[in-house]
Subunit: 297 residues, 2 copies
């Protein structure tokens, strides 16, 4: 089976959980519809798949880790909804469909994001309280994830990105740092949390973190490359939008060829971090790292 | 010492913690400035004071509970920032100063709210990981607080409130339910989390919850009354703004006199829940409940 098909299988397992995880929580109908509109809009489910694979490779029962893994998709989805808002990137399309504030309205989109971020922490605590993971591990993972998603991570990265837009000179190191916060931190935390939830050794946790860091950079470089080379229909968003908005990108700073090379170097670093392991999860994680540079959307 | 002075003393202790709690987390300067602008803008610090008083009355060391208590103020502050946004209540003033999006910009205000909500969960996890509270208790409290703040609580209440605006007929029961979600849930959780963090019995936790529920309703009724009777300078926001926006309120539905009576009834219910306890914290909580109906801002 191709890695694409294997990943799609994993994504379906995550989606089965996501489809019900917001139900029975007393969320008013229209708000719930708005939250589920974005949460169930497809996507690779990369972050929960990473958490589950690392946890499983290091000995955890994936069924117990699932609520925590799902929380990562809630956080990722909230960030997309808020990033698309008129005051932010002002995007009308997301995955080929109207963005949340276009489908509903701006107030509902803000609240849907706030709600998804908050429910994420309900899901995390339920990984211990309902699904029996040890509370100490869950709290360590909550702390990691909150740091990765907060002002020193994803939210801070979006603030820095907004400040870049329209600036004519952004150095490669600034760009790298911004992406490390905006998208890298959450991908890194997805892997690291998997290891922490499995009660892994410091060495294993470090492997998970560095694997995540490396694929995070590779993923972002390829995202920039695809915005130049990709096709609007395949991407589900307008190609060339970065250039049109005057955004700094890897291809703009170091060229397309060097960007692709750099992505491959990071992929190799990620695969090296899997040397200690074997089995199906290791093979999935290795193939996933390689797939990131080969994908077309 | 008057209850107002005693509460101000408690608020200062909370503020001393809030003043540094976002530092050293790698938050970019302008975003940090925006988060602290609202977090350190004064206010009664009612929610953290409630958490600390309940935890302390039931045997916890307040110093250990402080990070968790502070997280409630982060969540409350984020909700005010987002509620003030142009797409929501579109308020230019908050506590007599420009609201966050007026002082900074809309994108920064959205991100400051997102950041405060996320850092709140960092603070909660640190109550266990750094300050030594038992992980099981902290996770139970995280779960309570996430439910209270999420789509079935505060965020959902704001969504319902937005849907009410401009509607000519809102029943008393609908109004009560909306406030129970929008403001009541977080005040209730503030009390309940204090009891849970102290490792209290089910009976104590229930007392904390019902005390919080009662003062939450009283607080909201008085808020509505003050919007009619109050003075713009004392309130720090335009008096009469509810009526101007066509908002349903207790005075509009049942009159000013009956509204004040109802607030007193809820206060009495709250005080009854303190019958099992004694000492300084009990006296503070009882006086606080009575003060809620006597306050002028």
């Amino acid at each position: 089976m191709t890695i694409k098909a294997r990943l799609a299988g994993r994504a379906r397992e995550v989606e089965a959980f996501l489809a019900t995880c917001l139900r029975g929580r007393g969320i008013p109908d229209r708000l719930l519809a708005s939250m589920e509109y974005s949460l169930l809009a497809g996507g690779k489910r990369l972050r929960p798949v990473l958490t589950l694979a690392w946890a499983s490779m290091l000995g955890s029962d994936p069924a117990r880790v699932m609520p925590f893994a799902a929380s990562l998709e809630c956080i990722h989805t909230y960030s997309l909804i808020h990033d698309d808002l008129p005051a932010m990137d002002d995007d009308d399309l997301r995955r080929g469909k109207p963005s949340n504030h276009k489908q509903f309205d701006e107030a509902t989109a803000i609240l849907a994001g706030d709600g998804l971020l908050t429910e994420a922490f309900s899901l995390m605590s339920e990984a211990a309280l309902v699904h029996g993971l040890p509370p100490e591990r869950v709290l360590r993972a909550v702390s990691l994830l909150a740091s990765a998603a907060g002002g020193g991570g994803m939210v801070g990265g979006q603030a820095v990105d907004m400040a870049f837009t329209g600036r004519t000179e952004v150095a490669l190191e600034e760009l790298r740092q911004m992406h490390a916060m905006k998208t890298g931190a959450l991908i890194t935390a997805a892997c690291e949390c998997g290891a922490v939830l499995a009660g892994a050794s410091n060495r294993d946790v470090e492997n998970a973190r560095e694997y995540g860091r490396a694929i995070g950079v590779a993923f972002q470089i390829v995202d920039d490359v695809l915005d130049v080379e990709g096709d609007t229909n395949t991407l589900g968003k307008p190609a060339g939008s970065d250039a049109a908005m005057g955004k700094s990108t890897y291809p703009a700073l170091i060229g397309l060829g060097r960007s692709r090379e750099l992505a491959s170097e990071y992929t190799a670093q990620a695969v090296e971090r899997l040397a200690d392991y074997d089995g199906e999860e290791k093979s999935l994680l290795a193939d996933l790292a390689r797939y990131i540079v080969d994908r077309v959307c």
